[in-house]
Amino acid sequence: MKTLLKDVIRLGLILTAFTVVACVGLAFVNQVTKPIIDGLDARRTEQSLKNLFAGAESFEMVPEFPAGAGAVKFASAYLVSKGGQSIGLAVKAAGPTYGGDTVLLVGVGSDAKVAGVIVLDNKDTPGLGANAKNPNYYVDKASKTTFPGQFRGKPLSDPFEAKKDVIAITASTITSRGIAVIVKQAGDAATAYLAAHGGKQ
């Protein structure tokens, strides 16, 4: 009995030693990589916001943005300003397309027009629906307009219907329709928010 207990303690100690060494090592690696990873995330958000709004200077997260109704959900929203003047709102919105939810960053200017759309995540069929996030896929080859690029400057009063006022991705009507709906709903929510808050901050 005594030897058994001794054995258990010995094995336990060895196991603990290995675990402790592993955890300390990982804590060290984490110390090095964490600031880099966090920095990357922040920089990526900032970069995409700057791509949406030319000349944007500062961004402020909107604390109480509505979560969205129905299939389209809003994850977060940023108020974008330039020279102390708010110039628009960017909404991170997710909604169903073909192979699951697609996540977009939709920028809306104070003039109730779409400032731009960036596809953050899309799991649709590669080569078909996934062309939504392909920077080399053009719905209009002459002007090199990408699928999300065509929303730039589009007034929110438009119907946003694929194959009508929105050029669809070839053979991917469901993806195109889904994304148009997300843009429209995010845009409407952003306009409503901007109107309610007077746009002056």
Partner: protein
Amino acid sequence: MKRYLKIFTAGLISDNPLLMLMIGLCSALAVTNNMANGIGMGLAMTFVLLCSEVIISMFRKLIPNSIRIPIFIIVIAAFTTIVDLSMKAWTPALSEAMGVFIPLIVVNCIIMGRVEAFSSKEGVFACVIDSIGMGLGYTWVLLGIAAIRELLGDGKILGFQIMPDSYQPILFFTLPPGGFLVFALFISMNIWLKKLIDNAGARAGKSGKEAVA
């Protein structure tokens, strides 16, 4: 020397972890729709395999038999985490493309299998050779599959256009079914290769004997 050469070459064809032993398949098929992912996965996997084999071989006298499996898991998980964090920090695009398959290296049976069967018994140097051989055996298959899938499915190799513009990419190959089909053909090819080598070996053995006689 000859022994090390044998350990090294075993992983490439005759004991190829993917095509012969049929282990570690998940990551091999999931990330091989383009070459860049294949290279990244191959390197990540080889790194974890090498480090885990070396550490376990170094401490093999200190690891009691009854708790060896949990200790192996801890060691492998630690190195997997290191790779995961490093890739997130320094190669974010690659890390995003492979998603959950980097953390899943921890349950890759190749590593567990080699650690259990090889490095818990052998010296550090033999383990280095073994892990590099196995890692290369894993990586070449990944690259082969990825090259075919990227070329046929996207008309590119490593992102460079290879096929003429008129080539209509066969989407099938970038999608999961294409991965399964290409893999089936690779196994078939490897069986054929192994037979070829075995036959050549047998013939060489025979002629060697005749020469002695």
